[in-house]
Symmetry: none
Subunit: 196 residues, 4 copies
DNA sequence: AGCTAAGCGAGACGGTACGTCAAGTCTTGTG
DNA sequence: CACAAGACTTGACGTACCGTCTCGCTTAGCT
């Protein structure tokens, strides 16, 4: 309903900034629209005018933070095992870092709870990033390191699902060793059949 | 502080029952202590006396529902592939069933958000159940269907992590085919090394 | 500050018209500037530019309605009793008519609450009208129907005060009989002293 | 709906006290429920639970203040003129006193605007007080100072209406002289017919 | 005829207060 | 003394308007 061309960019940034700060300070459960508005020096109505829900604000605030898929690039040294281990070790490190921990968990729970947000997330972030990852796997297929017929979506689930579940439910430690062992097993599952 | 021996079991059951109904009806986000108390015909204080938080009530209400690890048993036909596919197909079906969907998701989000609840969950439910699953994998190891040296925790992550992630984030459909393909790949990763 | 020569008469009329309608529809308590602006198809600023307050708009809207003192004329048949009874019966009828009721009450409350508005009202409407009424009483004095030395302001208070109070506080019905009895009593109070 | 027996008398008094103070300090137009609740150290809900509207709170707060009809007594020296002049001079003084001015005006406007409040006011305060006044007039009738057949309601209107109107609309000064002149005229209107 | 300064409709903005909801605590009376 | 009931303070909700502030767009005069 409101006219986006008249939107005040300064207010928008202030809201997103304040949201990021407050999520880090008090956590999502104690995050309030009133708190965001007060911290941002903005009227509550300005938030309600431009965002559907608290989840949407939180989502936007982290979306704006992440550089987007453009800034992302996966290494391609020709050795899929080394490359994946490097990437997964880095991912594991991020999940373990308490600085990343809180906002990522907050964002994840929002997405898990709200299908609309989930769709948005897939469209704007997860989807493009997954495409980049699948490109690297395709490159490995061409190099004969991964079987030609594997379902790449399943391959990504195999790589990230275990790490993600262990982190989200805190069922075990997230170490570099775990990341490497995970890659080892997944690559064994994806290996092309032995040729005589 | 309160004396557990004087606890009114009837009130306890009424609260858990009401909680289950309300989660199914209105979802977790709109679940309130007042609503539970009213539905259960119980004073609010009775809830606050016996549970730390809303999450704890929800948790208990589903914990009481699930029969616990005792009632659980995994098939052991001797064929690990067939057995796992059966189990995973069933799990996939549960995740797809809208009747199970809402409470499981609610419980999962509670656990993901609250480390204390997570510990409780692991101790009372997930841990014992995981032991049963690992027992089945050990049986497969003895039968030579799975390598002797695999880390069974990682094996469980490989089996359930992909399914769980896909379900929680709604990144793709949860079909029997997906469950079977998943088992195929995981077993390939766990297979004992070829002996000459 | 703004230049009255550039004022848009069409907007002015639309505002006054909308105000009158809205007072009649929703009452003064629920009257809002935004509502007036929307109904009049006018920007809020246009209202704030030309009126000091909501009370001022309401006041103007009814002021514009009443034709002003020019259009007013009191009967002078030579019989002060008959003339006053006619006038008071008419006044009583207006006060009883629900169509007049709401706007007059609204205007009255505004005036009672805001001394500035009260002064404006006295200067522009009540004062001139009172002069006309006093002219009629002076005519009666010359005719020997009213004592020479009565304070005409007090005389007007005696005539209108009782009716006005009864109406405003709803302490009793406003009937033609009441109006006539009132005139009877007041004239008795104003009668010239019996001459021997 | 709420159970009056469980009402917290301390909160009730705090609300009425705070309301009286705030009306005196900022006036009715700027009186807010939030302000009352804050000043009284009371939750807003407690106000909404026990009063229908802001007007009802204001009304109650002044009702509680006035001692009620019991504490009221009119002088009866046998001389109706002297007695009425004393009473009316006192009334005029109250209306002129800025300390009484604001709350009385506030209360009056509330009553004038809200028929329900008006009924309450008549029942609890104005009615009983008027009966006492009419008793004094009846006493004067028995003493032959007032005609037997006068409508006492009309008589009260004649006495108070002029004063009230002049005060509410600020159409003239409220002086002791005015009060006395008013009584003189009204008594002339009520005098029994001369007997030969 | 072109320029410019104003008024104008529209509506976003920072705010205040609304009336409602639920949180968690406290009080009262019953079994 | 646990309990059902429910009043209490607190604080956030989402909405309605406030009065101010741009935005483009007429619409006069005044060059």
């Amino acid at each position: 309903m409101p006219d986006p061309t008249r939107r005040n960019e300064h207010s928008r940034q202030a809201v997103l900034q304040a949201t990021r700060e407050l999520v880090a300070e008090v956590g999502y459960a104690k995050l309030t629209i009133e708190g965001i508005a007060a911290r941002a020096g903005v009227g509550k109505q300005t938030i309600y005018r431009w965002w559907r829900s608290k989840g949407a604000v939180v989502f936007d605030s982290f979306l704006a933070l992440s550089e987007g898929p453009d800034g992302m690039a996966l290494p391609d040294t020709g050795d899929i095992e080394a490359d994946l281990k490097a990437v997964m070790r880095e991912t594991a490190a991020e999940f373990s870092d308490p600085v990343f921990e809180k906002p990522i968990r907050t964002l994840t729970l929002e997405i898990a709870a709200d299908p609309d947000l989930a769709a948005l997330y897939r469209g704007k972030l997860a989807g493009p990033v997954d495409e980049i990852k699948k490109d690297r796997l395709r490159s490995a297929q061409r190099a004969g390191q991964i079987a030609e017929d594997v379902d790449l979506d399943l391959a990504l689930d195999l790589l990230y699902g275990p790490l993600y579940q262990r982190w989200l439910l805190r069922t075990g430690p997230i170490t570099p060793e775990y990341a490497e062992a995970l890659v080892d097993h997944v690559l064994r599952a994806l290996r092309p059949p032995a040729t005589p």
